[in-house]
Subunit: 174 residues, 2 copies
């Protein structure tokens, strides 16, 4: 199972925390890559890359000019395209079908999503049909796609690692 995430129309100032959180969620929940359209935000790339360097695992962040060539390239590589939108079909009803595709490109919209994104997606998927957050929608989608196994994922080449505790903070460092 393999997932990449495409974030649309990033705005450097206004979206910096939300897109950083999206990148960290993508990494922590087992995706291999974040692709960003909109502002080529070096600070964003740097802060996600620093986490990946310290905490391990293979995760990349890339910038792209437009979403359509990215979608076309991933489709050619056999990825199914899953567009997260509160207007889509319920994740809990569609996940079984989605998981048959072993590789997905997850599109997370920005402020105004062109209708062509809906049309180009193999699945328009809602995580609840209520307004909440693209960050939570991405986490729940990846959690269902990887069947909870991503919660056990090891991150090779870590320099920092948490040793889980019932009460307190414990790190390993190397």
């Amino acid at each position: 199972m393999e997932a990449a995430v495409l974030r649309l129309s990033h705005r450097a100032e206004r979206d910096k925390r939300v897109t950083t959180h999206l990148g960290l969620v993508a990494r922590a929940f087992g995706a291999s890559k974040l692709i960003v359209t909109g502002a080529k935000d070096a600070h964003l790339a740097d802060s996600i890359q620093r986490v990946a360097d310290s905490w391990g695992g293979a995760f990349n962040i890339e910038f792209a000019e437009g979403w359509a060539p990215v979608v076309a390239a991933y489709k050619r590589q056999g990825y199914a395209v899953v567009h997260l939108t509160m207007y889509g079909l319920p994740v809990q009803k569609e996940m079984q079908k989605i998981r048959k595709n072993r590789k997905i490109l997850v599109i997370v919209g920005g402020e105004k999503v062109p209708f062509d994104v809906y049309r180009s997606a193999d699945y328009n998927i809602a995580v609840t049909s209520q307004p909440h957050s693209e960050i939570s929608a991405l986490a729940v989608l990846l959690d269902r796609f990887f069947g909870g196994k991503e919660l056990e994922k090891g991150f090779e080449g870590w320099k920092m690692k948490v040793i889980p505790q019932p009460c307190g903070k414990k790190f390993a460092e190397k």
Copy 2:
């Protein structure tokens, strides 16, 4: 099953989007209340309340002076206290125990979480031991706590409602 969410040390300017997302996630994933310590941010309360008014359901936002009296009051009412922290025990291992408590107060930390929060919690819980987002951690915790049933939740008294579509946007309004 019943959940309330306590967000610590909200800062009006810096945290406005993150705390708004937390409130919307709490509501969308079936919690009944968001309690906020830190800045008494009228704009935050207003934007979450407006969503609840339009989209339905019973959801409240409250401000509190300090976290400790809130925790004490919820404990007296029989709530188990679940503190979300990347240093805690894995959600997937602890959830069965947590669900035996039918009511939980979920604590979502702010910038610096006092150690007494760890000590006062019945469960210190990590959603992955990796850095990501309090928004995703809250969503996955509530999704596991409510066993996915929250995704089917109806919101009574709605004025707006999405009619799920395979491709496109459809609303009902009354």
